[in-house]
Structures are given as structure tokens and as C-alpha cells.
């Protein structure tokens, strides 16, 4: 606006000036006695084309700026072309910094920072409890029903229930689909509309209401050919008919664990009353405007207390309602890894900036003489500053552009590293805002560090600098700043490398951890039984038994086993009592152990050693004595120094009647520990029970040990399963080796990224040291020549230069060590079997850095050592 105003004023003034000129001319004509009616015409004729004069006069005030800019850019481009080494290094440094920064920041943003993509995201809360025995955020159906009646707090209160994989028929082969059951209020609460069709209606959330489902966009495309006529179609799910009412966009992701890539959404049919004690639901609510979470908690807690009086075993009297913003619920689960990466990115960006600044300072020093000559032949101060600034900004722009390309090319790779366990908010895409910000940082670096030498050049005393520049022997001036920049580059690189080294060390240790089972040649897949068809424990047991037999009979299958969950994936744990326990156990110490339902073949297929007693037999069924096998940790923690065999445990007894098994189990064997949760966690106490004595089992992971490649065995398995029941789908097919690898996904992600960052940092810091030493060797050619002439040996000169480099690197390493000592402590939670101050790692990284910098100094040092005194002294 102001620009146009000023331009308008200038135009008006010129017009006024011309008008006045014409008036004066007319006046002169009148005074000469000419006829007033002709005067006006005469004055105009004399003046010429008014508009043209106006335009040409106006043009004196513009155009020059643009012209100078073009000139500067042309000249700058020529300078960059003429120094390809300098340009390449600067542009590459910037490109790496900006590219890596944008890629990683985009991901961290999606995982940690970006607001949830819902209209009232700031009012959406996860509603749970504190102070309960089992802990966590999930609630039971009675609690939800009670809270739902509180009308003054929430606009919408919704329930999300993880349902097992559902078997879907009616779309080709029988399929197992990832599904989620949600109450009809969920979509209004989030403010989400389906991409096609409609969301659930209130009636569909009532018992006996219409049975409907919504499909995920990806599933709709892959299995229904993205056909819009899918609306209204009926599909068979677990033997019941459901009508498709909508398709949910691919971009919609419910940011809770286990809700990624959901293929089918079902409405929960909420009963009016429930006594179901299991905490299997997550509650999400949209607060009414103006209601604070504290007010909501105050309103919900009394309802919890009422329930606690009604069901004292299910809900403790001390339990309180607790609201967590859904955003925080998501980022809390991401842990500290994203922050670590963010820190690493910031460090890398700092190193990049320091390096570019250094390069620009070096350029400016070399061109001191050029600048002096320019000033001497009349270039204004402003003109010189602008010239240098244009050059450095041009460089930054080039770097930024390359950075965008680097980001674009490596983005998919970085995203592929993101482990599935990290929750994300919406889709992970290259973030334009982040890209713009990185670009801006690079521009700013160019501007600031282009300006420092530019101001310097403009301020300098012409005579002095001409003389000084003529004899390039002094290293005074900005030398200290350059050294400081290189030292900080080395220090920053050291911290990054230290972090990377600690992670690599942890990762290597994890890879050496024995999981306790043999994962080679093991194929695994899931079979889930539809409850409509397999409605009794006997039918389910029989199917599993027949399937096991079918798989075992296949040529190339060595052993077959099954379990309710696979090792390294975590799973349920339950409390138990020791019947007639000799140990007195205080009320607070919970007897808690992982709960695994397995087949008799499980231990042999995984090659888990039996330490004591026996494993399961086919004869252990619901008619015989209830039995359990426990692992070494369980035996040692609850029966220290004793033989647990023959003792009895009662599983679920401390958790209330609905959890309690009908009778105690006798411990018949002890097996070696395996890692159940992850390789990084020590083995938990684990109790195994045979599936034939676990009537509720309807989902099983099979494990088949093959003689050949397990992946090639899938077709035989598929046909064997078809022989048992053609309607049963096979899902989650993978090898046990992949399960082990996937369990390390988080570790691999941050280790790989940090290692890459460390490598880039090392590279850039090395360039920095090389650049500075190389520059100073050039500056000191004269001095070296004198030294050589006075009898200095090449070895001495070599040492002189290398010592300079080692001093720089050494200072950087020392400062970096102090910083690393302070900073790596923050990583403690991300390490395994490695102390954050591991002396070997510290020493190793420090030595590596010093060695690399010495190597970087070697080339300029050799140049110094080979200086021919005659040439050097004539060099001026």
C-alpha cells in the first residue's frame, strides 16, 4: 500500500511540475500580447508530448534497482561458476541440512506436534480413570453407561472398542478384516464425515438396531474396486448380515493405539444396562464449550464412586475420572524418540549454518583485494554490500533448492523407517510449512554471514587493505570468528556422533540378545474362528487340533504349535493366587504373570527348553486336571529355592468373580525364559496353559517350523487350511524372523536416522576443518617459503599445519565432550545395556573425530610442505 502511495505522490508531483511549466509558458505568451484562446495550444506545442515527458521523467526514479539486481545476480552466478569447489561444498552442505531437516521435521510434526485434524481438536479428550488397580486408560461398559447419562459436560461422549479380527465373506475369498467397533457418537464428536455415504445413525447404536458397517477407503479400493454402488450392499461378517452405509476417507485416522488402517467400522450396540467388568473400551468425549477438564472430572468422579459401591470388586473406591487431551494422549505414547530426532536435526542445522558461514567468511577474506579495488574505482559502500549479499543469498537459494530435492528423494526412505508402533496424526507428507521454514533459515544464514564480510569490506581502509591484500600473509581480521565456527562445528558433530554411537551400541547389544527361542525357518499366521459357527469350546478345540494335524502332515513341516499371542508382541497378564501358599504375601504385592494359551507343540516348535517336569499333552483337556507350565522367572520369583511342581495357582482369583477361572491349576513343568514383551525388556514371569483348557480361545497364531524357506510354504498351508474349513481366512502371514525384526522397529528407526545425521555431521565438520586449514596454508605460502628458505624441513612444515588442525579439532572435541556429557544423559531411556556416559564410546568417538580431522589437514599440510621457497617468495 505504501509503495503505491509513494509512487502516486511522485507521479502527482511530476504532473504538477509540468502543469506549472505550461501555465508559466501560457503567461509568457499572454504577456507577449497573444490571443488567450491560442495561448494554451501554443504552450502545449512548445512543450511537446506531455505524457511522454512525464513518463521519461518518472522513469529516472525506477529501474535502476532492478537493473543492479540483475547485474549482481549475473556477476554472482559467474563467481559461483568460477569457484566450483566452494559452490559445490556450500550448496551440498545446505542441501543436506535443509533436506534432512524437512524430512525429519515433517514426521516429528505428524507424530508429536501437529494438532489433530478435527474441527474442535482442543475440546476432544480421552476420558479415563486414575487410581485403579489394573491401570491405564481403558474403561468398562458400565462406567461408560453411567458417564453417558451426565448431560452437562460433554457435547458427545463416544466409546471405542477394539474388536478382534472379523471374518468377512461376500467379497471374493473369505477375509479377515481389521475392524473397530465405535459408538455412533464418535463421528459427531470428532466432526468427521464419511467420504461416501453416511455415518452411523443413533438407531444403529441400540440393541436390535439395523446391522450396518462402514468401510475404510483403502479396503474399499482394494476389495470393492472403489465402486460407489457398494453402498447398500450386504456383507456377511461372522455369519451375520451387515449393510454397507459409508466409506471413510483414507485421511481419517483415529489417533489411538491399534486403529491404523482399519478396514471395517461397526457401530457398538449399547445396552441400557451392563455388568460386564472387562476394561476393553476407550472413551473419547467432546467437551461442551466453556467446560474445563477439571469440571468434567469433578462431575464424573461421583458417578464412578456410585459404581464402586455397586461393584466393589470391579471399581476401587479411590478411583477418579481423569481427562487427557487426545493430542497429548497421542504424543505421550510416541515417547521421547521424536524429541531426540528433533534435537539431532537442530544440531545438524546448526552445523550446516556454521559451515556455510565459515565458507562465506573465507570467500570474503580471499576477495578482500577485489573489494578494495572495486571501492577504489568508485563502487559505493551500499553497492559492494549488495553485491556480496546477492552472492550469498544466491548460494543459499541454490542450497535450498537442492535441499528440497534431497528431501523429496529421501522422504519415502525416512517414512519407511517409521515403525508401525508410532502413532501418527493424519498422513505423513512433506510439510510445506516446514520446507519454507528450512528454506528461510538457509536464506537467513546466507544473508547474515554474507553481510558480516560485506560490512567489513565496505568499512575497510582502502589504502591499508590494498597493501595488505597485495601481500596475502596476514591471517588477522575475522580469523578468530572462523576458528570459533570450526571449533563449534566439531563440538556439535561430536555430540551428534556420540548420540549416534550410543544408539548404535545399544542396537548392537539388542541384536545380540538371545530371545530364548529359535526364530529361523518359522512361519507364522493367524486363524480366527467366527463365533457364530464355532459357538462351543469343543468345536473350537477340535478345529485347532485338526488344523494342527493338517499342517503337521505337510511334507516339509517339522513341528507345529499355536498360541494366543506371538513372543515379542506383548500380551495379556493376569493376577493369580497361590493355593495354600507357603509364602505370606502382603496385600500390595500383586501376584502377576503373563498369560499365554498354547498348544502342546508350542515349546518344541520354538525350541524352548523344558527345565523341569513335563510340557502339555493332548490328554490335558477340560475333562482332566487343570494344569499350567511356568517359566524360570516365575518359578524363581514366587517359589525361590523351591520346586514349584505340584503347587497350585488360581488364575484371576484376585480380580473378581468374572475373571476367576473355575478351578486352581497344578504346575506340571518349568521352561526356560523367553522375551515376551521386547528384546530390551528382561523376561517376565509367564504362565502357560493348554488351549484345550481355555474355553474362550477363538483366535490363534500358528507357528510352523519348515525344512526349507518358510515364505515358500504359504500356498501349502493355505490349501491345508482349506481342507479343514474352506471358509476360514488366513491372515497376518509372516516369518518369526520378521516378527523379531519388527519388534526392533523403533530402535532401528532412531538408530538409523541418528547414525545418518552423525555421518553427515562428521562430513560437514571435516569439510569445515579442511577449509580453514587449507585457506590458512594458502595465506601463509609466503611464510612457508621463508621458513623453507631458512632451512625448515618438509616434515616440520607438515607438522606445523597438522598441529594447527589438531588444535582446532582438539578444542572442539573437548567442548563437545562436556556438552555430550550433559546431553546424552537425556537419552538414558532410549539406550539398552549402555550407559549414557560409556567411556569407551566417548573415547572412540573423540579419537575418530581427531583422526578424521588430521586426515583432512593432511592434504593442505602436504601442499605446505612442498612449497618451493623461490616460487613462494615470488608469489606476491
Amino acid at each position: 500500500m505504501r509503495f503505491f502511495g509513494r509512487r502516486g505522490r511522485r507521479d502527482r508531483e511530476i504532473q504538477e511540475e509540468i502543469d506549472r511549466h505550461l501555465q508559466m509558458a501560457e503567461q509568457a505568451h499572454i504577456e507577449r500580447g497573444e490571443a488567450p484562446e491560442e495561448v494554451r495550444h501554443a504552450a502545449r506545442r512548445e512543450f511537446g508530448n506531455v505524457d511522454l515527458v512525464h513518463e521519461v521523467t518518472r522513469s529516472q526514479w525506477r529501474g535502476r534497482w532492478m537493473e543492479h539486481l540483475l547485474q549482481d545476480i549475473r556477476f554472482g552466478a559467474r563467481m559461483l561458476r568460477r569457484n566450483p569447489g566452494f559452490t559445490l561444498v556450500a550448496v551440498m552442505t545446505l542441501a543436506l541440512g535443509i533436506g534432512a531437516n524437512t524430512a525429519v521435521f515433517s514426521i516429528v510434526n505428524a507424530v508429536l506436534l501437529r494438532p489433530l485434524p478435527f474441527p474442535h481438536a482442543d475440546r476432544i479428550y480421552q476420558v479415563g480413570r486414575t487410581g485403579n488397580r489394573i491401570g491405564g486408560s481403558s474403561i468398562s461398559l458400565p462406567i461408560f453407561l453411567a458417564w453417558q447419562d451426565e448431560e452437562n459436560v460433554f457435547e458427545h461422549l463416544a466409546l471405542i472398542r477394539w474388536s478382534g479380527p472379523e471374518t468377512l465373506t461376500g467379497a471374493g475369498e473369505p477375509l479377515q478384516v481389521r475392524s473397530l467397533s465405535v459408538s455412533t457418537e464418535l463421528f459427531p464428536a470428532l466432526g468427521v464425515q464419511p467420504a461416501l455415504g453416511r455415518a452411523f445413525l443413533p438407531d444403529e447404536g441400540k440393541p436390535g438396531g439395523p446391522r450396518v458397517l462402514m468401510l475404510g477407503e483403502g479396503f474399499w479400493q482394494s476389495h470393492f474396486g472403489a465402486d460407489p454402488k457398494v453402498l447398500g450392499r450386504t456383507l456377511t461378517v461372522d455369519g451375520e448380515l451387515f449393510t454397507v452405509v459409508g466409506v471413510l476417507s483414507r485421511d481419517f485416522e483415529l489417533p489411538i493405539p491399534g486403529a491404523r488402517d482399519i478396514q471395517a467400522w461397526f457401530p457398538v450396540q449399547l445396552p441400557a444396562l451392563s455388568h460386564n467388568p472387562s476394561n476393553e473400551a476407550l472413551c473419547v468425549g467432546l467437551l461442551k464449550p466453556g467446560i474445563t477438564p477439571a469440571q468434567a472430572e469433578a462431575a464424573l468422579t461421583p458417578l464412578l464412586a456410585d459404581l464402586s459401591r455397586q461393584f466393589p470388586k470391579m471399581i476401587g473406591a479411590q478411583e477418579r475420572a481423569h481427562l487427557v487431551r487426545l493430542r497429548d494422549f497421542v504424543s505421550h505414547r510416541a515417547g521421547s524418540a521424536p524429541l531426540l530426532l528433533l534435537g539431532a536435526v537442530a544440531f545438524l542445522l546448526l552445523i550446516v549454518c556454521a559451515n556455510v558461514a565459515n565458507l562465506l567468511l573465507a570467500r570474503a577474506a580471499v576477495r578482500k583485494r577485489e573489494m578494495a579495488i572495486r571501492a577504489a574505482i568508485g563502487a559505493g559502500r551500499g553497492r559492494i554490500i549488495r553485491q556480496l549479499l546477492t552472492e550469498s543469498i544466491l548460494l543459499a537459494l541454490l542450497g535450498g533448492l537442492m535441499g528440497v530435492m534431497v528431501c523429496y528423494f529421501c522422504f519415502d526412505f525416512v517414512v519407511s523407517l517409521v515403525p508401525a508402533s508410532l502413532l501418527r496424526v493424519g498422513m505423513v507428507r512433506i510439510d510445506i510449512a516446514v520446507l519454507a521454514a528450512s528454506f528461510l533459515v538457509s536464506l537467513l544464514t546466507g544473508a547474515v554471514f554474507g553481510l558480516v564480510p560485506a560490512l567489513d569490506a565496505a568499512r575497510q581502509d582502502l589504502n591499508l587493505s590494498l597493501k595488505e591484500a597485495a601481500r596475502p600473509s596476514s591471517t588477522a581480521g575475522r580469523g578468530w570468528l572462523r576458528s570459533a565456527l570450526v571449533v563449534s562445528e566439531v563440538a556439535l558433530a561430536l555430540v551428534l556422533l556420540m548420540g549416534a554411537a550410543l544408539l548404535v551400541e545399544s542396537f548392537a547389544r539388542l541384536l545380540r540378545v538371545q530371545p530364548g527361542f529359535d526364530s529361523s525357518h518359522l512361519l507364522t499366521f493367524q486363524v480366527a474362528l467366527p463365533t457364530k459357527q464355532y459357538d462351543s469350546p469343543d468345536k473350537r478345540s477340535l478345529l485347532f487340533k485338526r488344523a494342527t494335524q493338517g499342517f503337521s502332515a505337510l511334507p516339509g513341516a517339522e513341528q507345529v504349535g499355536l498360541a494366543n499371542v506371538l513372543p515379542l508382541r506383548g500380551g495379556p497378564d493376569l493376577l493369580f493366587n497361590i493355593v495354600g501358599g507357603t509364602r505370606s504375601i502382603s496385600q500390595e504385592t500383586a501376584l502377576d504373570a503373563d498369560y499365554r494359551i498354547i498348544s502342546p507343540g508350542y515349546f518344541s516348535v520354538l525350541r524352548i527348553a523344558l527345565l523341569h517336569g513335563r510340557g502339555f499333552k493332548d490328554t490335558d483337556d477340560h475333562a482332566s486336571q487343570a494344569v499350567a507350565v511356568i517359566n524360570r522367572t516365575m518359578a524363581e520369583s514366587f517359589w525361590p529355592g523351591m520346586d514349584p511342581i505340584g503347587h497350585q495357582i488360581w488364575i484371576g482369583k484376585p480380580m473378581g468373580p468374572s475373571w476367576t477361572e473355575p478351578m486352581p491349576r497344578e504346575i506340571v513343568g518349568v521352561v526356560e525364559d523367553i522375551r515376551e514383551g521386547s528384546l530390551a525388556e528382561p523376561p517376565d514371569a509367564t504362565m502357560y496353559i493348554p488351549y484345550t483348557q481355555a474355553p474362550q480361545t477363538d483366535v490363534a497364531f500358528f507357528l510352523v517350523r519348515t525344512t526349507g524357506d518358510p515364505a515358500a510354504f504359504v500356498p501349502s498351508i493355505r490349501s491345508a487350511l482349506k481342507n479343514v474349513d474352506a471358509a476360514l481366512p488366513l491372515s497376518s502371514v509372516t516369518t518369526m524372523e520378521e516378527v523379531v525384526a519388527a519388534s526392533l522397529g523403533d530402535w532401528r528407526f532412531r538408530t538409523t536416522l541418528l547414525a545418518i545425521f552423525g555421518g553427515i555431521a562428521l562430513f560437514i565438520a571435516t569439510i569445515g576443518v579442511y577449509g580453514l586449514v587449507s585457506y590458512s596454508v594458502t595465506q601463509r605460502t609466503h611464510e612457508m617459503g621463508i621458513r623453507a628458505a631458512l632451512g625448515a624441513k618438509p616434515g616440520g612444515l607438515l607438522r606445523l599445519v597438522i598441529v594447527q588442525g589438531v588444535k582446532l579439532a582438539g578444542t572442539g572435541v573437548l567442548i563437545g565432550m562436556v556438552a555430550a556429557l550433559a546431553l546424552t544423559r537425556l537419552m538414558t531411556g532410549l539406550l539398552y545395556g549402555t550407559k549414557s556416559t560409556d567411556p569407551w564410546t566417548f573415547a572412540g568417538v573423540a579419537i575418530l573425530l581427531v583422526l578424521v580431522t588430521v586426515a583432512a589437514c593432511y592434504f593442505p599440510a602436504r601442499r605446505a610442505a612442498r612449497v618451493d621457497p623461490v616460487v613462494a617468495l615470488r608469489y606476491e
Binding site: E17, R20, H21, M24, G48, V53, V56, S59, W61
Partner: protein
């Protein structure tokens, strides 16, 4: 480089600047006045084209060799009046000596014999 201005006044390149600066040495003057003064002082020989004068005035103003102020004339109208600045005075001296050199050189070319005898 100097756009339209350059094309239009090729003949007077440099000279018009000198004439304007010289004219302003006698005191501040507006565009029309400068026009009249040049005509009068050159014995009605030089007729400055306004299409050259005004761009030149504004260019000199931008170079800070002359300054411009709005003054109120006798008949209560705003008039843009130009004056010589200190920088302009220095420039005038430089241009005058350059002009003298040029004059001498041209004179030498035009009448070589006379030039030699004078030297």
C-alpha cells in the same frame, strides 16, 4: 543503462548536466526558469527540449547533485524549485574542467596548426 533518456539526448550527453548545474549556480530556479535562462544565456541559440530537461533534472536530483523544494510563487501556486547542492558544486567543477579539456581537444582536431603553435 539509462533507458529512454540516453536514446533521446545522445547529442547532449554530459553537456546538458553541465549546463543545468551552471545555470543553477546563479541561484535556485524552477524548470521553466531554467529553460528560459539557458535560452537567454546562449543568445537564443540553445533551445532545451523539455523532454530532455525534466528527466535530466530528476536524474541529477536522484544523484544528489541538485536538490528540489516546493516553494509558493507570487500567484500562490506550488512551484518545484531546484538548487545546487555541495556535491553538485564539486561535480560542476569536475564537469567544467572536463569540458575545458574536451574543448581544447576538439579545437586541436579542428585546427591542428593553431593548436600546435599555441602549445
Amino acid at each position: 543503462m539509462k533507458g529512454h533518456y540516453q536514446n533521446r539526448i545522445e547529442l547532449l550527453q554530459g553537456t546538458l548536466d553541465l549546463i543545468i548545474l551552471q545555470t543553477l549556480q546563479w541561484g535556485p530556479q524552477h524548470g521553466y526558469g531554467i529553460c528560459q535562462a539557458i535560452r537567454a544565456n546562449s543568445g537564443e541559440v540553445l533551445q532545451v527540449d523539455t523532454g530532455s530537461l525534466y528527466p535530466a533534472l530528476h536524474r541529477l536530483e536522484r544523484q544528489k547533485w541538485i536538490g528540489a523544494d516546493w516553494k509558493v510563487s507570487e500567484n500562490k501556486q506550488r512551484v518545484r524549485v531546484y538548487r545546487l547542492t555541495a556535491k553538485g558544486k564539486k561535480q560542476l567543477l569536475a564537469e567544467r574542467s572536463r569540458w575545458a579539456q574536451l574543448q581544447e581537444a576538439i579545437a586541436g582536431i579542428l585546427s591542428p596548426a593553431k593548436g600546435e603553435s599555441e602549445a
